[in-house]
Every structure is written in C-alpha cells, then in structure tokens.
C-alpha cells in the first residue's frame, strides 16, 4: 500500500548518532570505512555474562555521557542511559540542521525504543538497597522523549514508537507522514536503546546470542551480538528547507511497514513480510529493484533472520542482488535504535558515495548464495535501501535517495 498524497519531499537536513563505533557521525564514519569494530567485552553493564558474550557497548559510563551531552546532573538528575544517549545524538542532529530555538519550538520529536529506561528498572526493581522509586517515572518508553523535549525546548508534538527491533524505522515513517500531511514542517525522528540485563538475558534465553563476534549472512553464523546507541534524523518539508536555507543531505523517498504474521519472534522461511516491505517501499519510491545501489540489511547474524532476509532479497532482486552489508557486524544489534543508526549510515553512504563493508564474513549461506561487501567501495549511489525487522512480525523498509 502506498501513500500518495505527498505534499512535500521528505528532506534530510541533519543527523546525529552515538554508537559503539563512535560518539558522533564523523567518528562512526571513520570506523565504518576503517572496519573498526565496536564489539568487545562489556565494561559498564553489570552482569554475570560479561565474559561470555561480546557486545557493542557505547564506550562511556553514564557520568561520562552526562559530560558529553553537557548536562548538569543537579539540574537533570533523572536521565537514564537511554535519555543520555538520545540527548547526545539529538544535539548533533540539531547542530547539523542548524535549528535555532525558534525552529525547535515548532519541531515535532518522534522517538523509538524497545526497553527505554529498563537499565535503571532492573537495578532498582525488588532491590531495597537502592531505596528509590525513581525508576517508576523513567521506566515508560515515552520518558526519553519528554526529557529530550524539555532539554532542547521542543514544545510541540512528541511520541515514541515501540515495535521491538524495527521501532526507529517506524518513528521515521511516522515523522514522514507528519510532513506529508502538512501537520508539521520539521521533525526530529529516530530511536534509542541502552544495553540492559533484561535484553541480554532475554536473547540469551532464546539462545540467539553468539559467543563470538557475530557473522551476518555467513554460512556459519551463530547468533547476534547486542548493541546500543541512539540515532536521529532531522526531516524537513520543502517549505521549511527554503525558510532557513537548510542543506539537504538526502531524501526519504520510500517507506513501508508490513507484518510477517508468522510467529511472535521468528521470521517466516519464505521471508514474506520482508519481501512485502521491500516491494512496497520500492513501489512508493517509484523505483525498479535494479535502481537500488546498496542495501543496509537487517542482518543480525541469527540463523533465522539472515536466511529469511536473504530469501526475501532474492525474491525482490532476483539473480542481480545489489551490493549489501550488515553494519551490525561492527555495531552489534541496537534493537529499537538499530534502524536509526542504520538510517544515519545510509544517509552517510549516499552523501559520501561509499558502500560500508561488513566484517567476519567467510562463506555465503548455501540457499541464497549472497555475498556481502567486505571492503569499502566507492560507487555512484543514488538509492539506498535499509531493512529493519522485529518481534511481533514487524518488517519496515526505508529508501533514501540522493
């Protein structure tokens, strides 16, 4: 299904990110082209599994994140790790887009998360030693959005999407719809998720965490590595771009959301939801499959996802699959923030005309025979497609264009 009443282009005028591979967009870009992984041993999250599972952790304690964000703890004592990560990424996005206080006032803020303030909840829950119930206020998914709006003087509409690992893609879609319907002219949209014992143990209980560095799309892949981070895009209508003479880094030209309707946590063997998501996004962008120059795949490294996604890619693109890579091989899987990190990477790929490589790949999956890009490639990129899939059968695809 295609939304046809497009009143405006969806212009990307800014982006901000903090990820295991860097505290800002430039640092992330350098890590991506130098194949420097952010995955390693846990340092900050307190868990008995620290030595067991490599993870993509943002390399700072919460106090260090406060300093990077420039937040005074006395003034804002209740920032969880999610709010801190979001504050840092949003600040960078605002700077790129040159949004002043007046523009921020009329900007909508659309966030996404799967567990929000869970890192604080799990430490305080049933633990009288902490003696504080602050976590009850910071637990809701919507907490970070309220905090960010307060911090940066964003006084309009805000909301948070929570559709597990596809959350941030749906936040970007909701933001795009706000522009297309003329409800607002400017949106900051993306997502955040912190590492938590809750998700680490959750994915461990499902037996889909790799004890080695994850190997997306490899025949011998054995699960995912968890990650964390925050990423946000500034999306503006044509009118808003003109109004403050904003630089446009790229455009969102296609998006879709479909449901696999197969299983609560597993993807279908036919990749039906993913197939529909990619097909519908292509329809909306009025593109032929052959016009996609690069795919930033969901590519978690689990047996199930990569096979299902690979089959869906073959169904959409046939024998001539475009170059693709899973940047999760460098960042880990940041769950509700993953689509936001990868949206920022997709925009950077377009802007710099480079395909980012993935690491840890040796042999392709037999059924699909797909080879990811393992070296940085300079290429004339016009259209980049990014996939994000999640629990609950959620499949979302975004297409970014020059």
């Amino acid at each position: 299904m295609v939304i046809i009443n497009q009143k405006t282009n969806i212009n990307i005028t800014g982006f901000g990110i903090i990820a295991p591979i860097g505290d800002n967009a430039l640092k992330c870009y350098k890590s991506l082209i130098n194949k420097q992984t952010g995955i390693g041993k846990l340092r900050h999250l307190q868990t008995i599994h620290a030595d067991e599972f490599p993870v993509g952790e943002v390399k700072h304690s919460n106090d260090e994140l406060l300093a990077i964000a420039g937040i005074d703890k006395r003034q804002y004592p209740h920032f969880t790790r999610a709010s801190l990560l979001a504050a840092i990424a949003v600040k960078e996005a605002i700077q790129y887009a040159k949004l002043d206080a007046g523009l921020l006032k009329t900007t909508a803020f659309i966030s996404a998360t799967s567990v929000g303030g869970m890192d604080k909840t799990e430490n305080c829950f049933q633990n009288e030693a902490y003696g504080s119930n602050d976590f009850i206020y910071t637990h809701p998914c919507g907490d970070a959005a309220d905090k960010i709006c307060e911090l940066y003087g964003i006084s309009g509409y805000r909301t948070t999407l929570s559709t597990a690992c596809s959350s941030a893609a749906n936040a970007i879609i909701h933001g795009a719809l706000l522009l297309q319907n003329g409800i607002v002219d400017r949106v900051i949209a993306g997502g955040v998720d912190p590492l938590s014992k809750f998700t680490l143990n959750g994915f461990n209980s499902l037996m889909i965490l790799d004890r080695e560095h994850c190997r997306p799309f490899d025949k011998n892949r054995n699960g995912l590595n968890l990650g964390e981070g925050a990423g946000y895009l500034v999306l503006e209508s044509d009118k808003s771009v003109k109004m403050h003479d904003a630089a446009v880094f790229g455009r969102l030209t296609g998006f879709s959301n479909t449901n696999d309707a197969f299983h609560q946590t597993a993807s279908s063997p036919t990749g039906e939801g993913a197939f529909l998501a990619m097909s519908q996004a292509l329809d909306m962008a009025k593109l032929e499959p052959s016009q996609i120059d690069y795919i930033n795949v969901h590519g978690t490294g689990t047996q199930n996802n990569d096979l299902s996604e690979g089959i869906a890619i073959r169904r959409v693109f046939g024998e001539k699959a475009p170059p693709f890579s899973s940047t999760k091989s460098l960042t880990g899987h940041a769950l509700g923030a993953a689509a936001a990190l990868e949206a920022v990477f997709s925009v950077m790929a377009l802007f710099n005309q480079k395909i980012f490589p993935q690491i840890n790949f040796t042999e392709p999956i037999e059924e699909t025979g797909l080879f990811p890009e393992t070296e940085v490639t300079e290429k004339h990129l016009r259209h980049v497609l990014s996939n994000s899939f999640g629990f609950g059968g959620n499949n979302s695809t975004l297409i970014f264009s020059k």
Binding site: M1, Y137, P140, D146, S162, N259
Partner: protein, 329 residues
Amino acid sequence: MKLFINKATAISPINSWGTENTLLNVPDASTGYFVCKEPDYKTIIDKKLLRRMSKFIKMSVANAIECLAGAGLEQPDAILTGTALGCVADTVDFLKQLNENNETLLNPTAFMQSTHNTASGQIALLLGCKNFNVTFSQKNTSFESALLQAEMMHPGNGYHNILVGGMDEITPESFQLLSQTDCFGKNVEKPYLPGEGAAFFVLSDQKSEKCLGKLEGLAFYPENISPAEIEDFLKKNNLTFNQIGLFLTGAHPHNEATMGISKFFSRENIVWFKEFCGEYDTSSAFALWLALQFLNQKIEGYERKTAEKILIHNQGSGLLHSLMLVSSC
C-alpha cells in the same frame, strides 16, 4: 479530519462488554484499584492460544476480534495500538526471574511476550494480517498517537478500515510499585483509584450503517491546556463551548490547573471519566468508547444521557494533554 467510527468495543472495570446499554456506576475496588470485568475468553479466543496469553494480550485480542466482527471485516488495512506500560505482567515476570535466578536458566516466554507490540503482533498473527502494524508508547498520549497515525494514513489509497486500540494492564506488583509514587495524583485530594482497560475501534473513511460517531478533531498540548486553547480548537471545528453537549475529562476535580477549563462547562455536562475506569495512561481509549455510548443513548443510570458533540480531554503521567472531538454520525 473526519474518521467514521464504525465499531467500538471495550473491556473495562464497568460492564462494557457484551451488553448493548451501559449502566454507568462506580465499580467495586476492594483491592484498592479497579480491575477489568473480563469476558469468558474461551468463547472468543482459541483455548490453546489462551494459555500463554497475559491479561494484556487477552484483552487486546478479544477486543480486536469482536471489533472487527462487529464491523463486518475480516482484516483491517492497518493495526495501530497505544500502550503506556505495555506487557506489565510479562515484564515483571522476567525481571523477577532475572533477580531470583541470578541471570541463569531463564524461561524465554515472558521475554518474548514483553515487547510493547506483542498485542498488535498477536492480532496480526491470529488474523494472518500482513498490513501496516505499529505500537505507540508515549505515556498518556499513546492511544492518541495511534489515532493521529490513522488520520494520516486515511488520505492514501488502500487504507479504508483501520483497527486502533488503547490498552494498559495493572497487576498486584505494578499497583504496589506505582502506589509508592505520586503517579496516581497523590498531591490532590481524593485521587482517582488506579485502573486498567482496553478499548478498540474500527475507524473508516466510509460511514457504515452501524456508524457510532465521527472523530472530528484531535490535538496535543504541551505542559497544560488553557481555556483559550480549547476555544481555539473548537473554533477550528466551527464550534463554541455551548455547543459541546458533554465534556469528558481525565483531569481531577481538585486539580487547580484544570479547574480553569471545567468552569466553561456546566456541572451536569462534565463527566470525570476516571471515576469509572480508574487512573491509567490509555484511559482516553475508554473515554472515547464512553463518548460513543453517550452519543448513541446507550448510557443508563446517569443523569445526563445524551449529546451530539462531545469533547474529550485527557492528561496523565506525560507532559502532553490531548483533546478529541466526537460527534454523531
């Protein structure tokens, strides 16, 4: 904005399920909070599936099935839900396991069912519905965000009938935790009791024969809402205060900040809807269902029985207030 509400269902602390007319009275709260009067789910949901479902999922799935059946639809063109706290029981279950088993030998079921989109995913799974499917979680405007998403999708081709739901559950543990805070408005005299509920709607671009009402306006306000803002909202819909037959508000009668608004409506035209469903962040979905009951003269035991235009105001744990305008078909 004009969305026809062709069907609405609710599971709530009052008798809202399976009866044509609603007897509006304050429900029993011997536990210190309002719990839903739940239907016999075995008559609605496959028994094999029921066993693993939490109250949150059961309430949502039952509502979705009944709502779609009532609207004569096999599948909606989109499934949009809003929940402030999501799957509380499953989340608490997994947190307890984490603590008690010291991060070992954990059962994955609670984790798998803990994501906020579990209910909308389960509805899709049950219906085999591959269409657009999202869940919003922005405190007391979670449900309203889902309504806004519906509004934005309707102008496009293909989106004719959208299933929208708002739901939150309360458990003994979450009640105990929330009671230790001022989440239930401890700073006001006689705060509302905590509550829970799930209400679902079929929103369509075409009016059906059974149309219950029209959603004509939806707006969000940061921090607070002033009488001038309400007046402006009404003006955009070519209305004035005295054309609003009923004002349903989630504010508290003793809360000074909202006293300003309520004095624009005569006492008998105000319904403090949280007296009937309790305090929870997606109670605005219950309020919308209640408004439709009023519009269609299906309320008993309450002095003011009907109205043609109803304004709903809600506030809660978040920083936004919301307004919804509903009118007769």
